[in-house]
Subunit: 389 residues, 2 copies
């Protein structure tokens, strides 16, 4: 096991009606003047934004708004938010939405306190030393951004999609998580969220660090729970307990508890980021395509972890690692198909992917080799993209 | 699933040599003048206390000392600590040790800022509104106090042992966890710690709340990991990875992650507290005696959770709940015996336990019925104590 720091100060308030606490927690943790960041029509139409505004008003929290944040959020909205923060003297950022909204809120929170261009943090020119406090009302269980110190933003110039991770400074101060808010998520978005949270665990599970048995067992437990409850939320979208377990799983998948003490991988995320940057697909759907292809490559080249996952999570009994790992990939693909996710480029609506473009962008943005479990060269990432056709 | 709040702001710094960060973290999180609380000879003899003092000196943190805290810590040392805090103007408490030391530090931290008698918090007369910050250098993985908001103190007058829980205010600001510091723990103390952490999970696992599948899976994962690695640390006390996994398991067992979203039990802890208060036994050894007896009763009266645990943690295949639960108890007793823990009063050195005394104290201190999974009357707690003979 490697040395690690695990620091998750987020106050999770979870359950029915918890969005009623928005005003009280914002007043206590975000200060008296917040920037309310949100996405599209659904939060307005459902009445959620109205309840949030009312709760802020009730606690005398002044707010300004930045709405219309899109999936795969872009730098232009971050600059816009930073301008509002500076102009209005905003004391904290309140994100109402899913990962795209939260990641935008985090970028604004850090960028507003930085003299240079916020993109410096994403392109590696600067580290985030401080940020305004961020609070969250979560509506989409997927990205895990409500509990993570991470943020993913796409730079419009060149459509460069970059993920950053901080130990603690970008972790939200609070996250209000009402599973009922997810009852109306469309099935495809629910399924994409499930693929995303599973991928967050896989990226941590495929590791060369020995002796992290406890972290393995926790990660396998979260995976098993997701796999068992995914069919329930797909069949019965208003099943409170199933939605609640899936929502909490999305947080545990990405707050770091499934990765303590070991080197991680993250090649599949990097490979998917290029697909969604170039083709504009949903991140979760892209992951459902890339991860099995990546695992197929690993079954041949480094099968140990895939075999353990196949046995412990999917109940595969084959004693030969390479074969067990391949059986695990087959079961994973079958699972993704069962919740109507694509598992090939074709299913993403990309009939002839430009693999040369994806590979050249990938290694230009992320380096000569990609991934901590097995560092992939350009020839190898090209092969994995091929395996996804 | 029930609504819950999960708030664990503790900064865990885990791994080899992390005690070298004591001065830096104390200066940042405990203020400039700390009370250094510790236990007996081992921390001094091993050189740990010397390294801690050196680290404090290096960061210009002034410290005063309160040493010699005993297992099953008592209120007299808390009063002594509170006096030092007030006299010296202490800004934070640094605990170097295991649960007894940390729990004493927490009681001092809360009591020093309270106008009345700190025991008011333990006997239910007052709730803790504020406390000085507490930091930890952990030497014994067992109580989980390094990550919990809990504290257990025994009042010498009447030997009343009471546990309290706060949501966040008593959680340590940081916990420095170096598994190497546990290499020299005596085998009995190692085993007692293992029983204690398992009990912390069982108390949360035996629940009447439906629909907490994810929490189940996480709890089962931590239990499995403990059961697999316990023989390794017993046979090979200097095995770093095994010690590291056991140490981290002790934290996860009690920081709340194994209990999210459900009602908990805690009858076994209450029953054990009377045994250790009356007979002065080690808490973990007492739990190894009480928990199987309690589970035996439950196998007959409410077998569902015991059966699930038996199947998922111990691999029992019996489809009949009552029988599966009993098989689980047998495997648990066998496990405790394998790490040389007692499973009967006799093994604790108590040949003729005064069950009437234990039962009358228990219900006088904790109420007419005990436990959230199955509220036990005095006749039933007497029967369970009988089952432990």
């Amino acid at each position: 096991m490697e040395n690690f720091t695990f620091w998750t100060p987020t106050k999770y308030v979870f359950g029915r009606g918890v969005e009623e606490n928005t005003g009280e927690l914002s007043a206590a943790m975000l200060g008296g003047k917040v920037l309310l960041v949100y996405g599209g029509r659904s939060a307005e139409a459902s009445g959620l934004l109205g309840r949030v505004r009312h709760s802020l008003d009730s606690h005398a929290v002044e707010y300004h708004e930045l709405g219309g944040i899109q999936p795969n959020p872009t730098d232009d909205r971050v600059y816009e938010g930073i301008d509002i923060v500076r102009e209005k003297g905003i004391s904290g950022i309140l994100a109402v939405g899913g990962g795209s909204v939260i990641d935008t809120a985090k970028a604004i929170a850090a960028g507003a306190l930085y003299d240079g261009d916020f993109w410096d943090f994403y392109c590696g020119k600067a580290a985030i030393a401080k940020a305004l406090p961020v609070g969250v009302v979560l509506t989409i269980p997927a990205a895990g951004s409500e509990g993570s110190g991470n943020s993913v933003i796409t730079k419009l110039d060149g459509m460069i999609k970059i993920s950053i991770r901080t130990e603690e400074v970008l972790r939200p101060r609070f996250a209000l998580m009402n599973p009922e808010l997810t009852f109306t998520l469309p099935p495809f978005q629910t399924a994409c969220g499930i693929a995303d949270m599973m991928a967050h665990i896989f990226e941590r599970y495929f590791s060369t660090t020995p002796g992290t048995d406890l972290t393995d067992r926790v990660a396998e437990g979260v995976l098993r729970s997701i796999i068992e409850l995914a069919p329930v939320v797909m069949d019965d979208p208003c099943n409170y307990d199933a939605r609640a377990n899936i929502m909490w799983a999305g947080t545990l998948a990405h707050n770091g508890i499934c990765g303590t003490g070991r080197k991680e991988d993250w090649a599949s995320h990097a490979m998917e980021h290029e697909i969604s940057a170039v083709y504009g697909v949903a991140h979760g759907a892209g992951l459902a395509v890339v991860m099995p292809a990546w695992m197929t490559f690993m079954a041949k080249n480094r099968p140990e972890r895939g075999a353990q996952m196949a046995r412990r999570v999917f109940g595969v009994e084959n004693p030969v690692d390479t074969e067990a790992a391949i059986e695990g990939v087959m079961k994973l693909r079958k699972f993704f198909k069962s919740i109507n996710l694509p598992t090939t480029f074709d299913g993403l609506g990309i009939e002839a992917p430009d693999i040369d473009l994806l590979v050249s962008r990938l290694h230009a943005n992320k380096g000569a080799t990609i991934g901590g479990y097995y560092p992939l060269t350009a020839a190898e990432t090209a092969l994995i993209y091929q395996l996804a056709i």
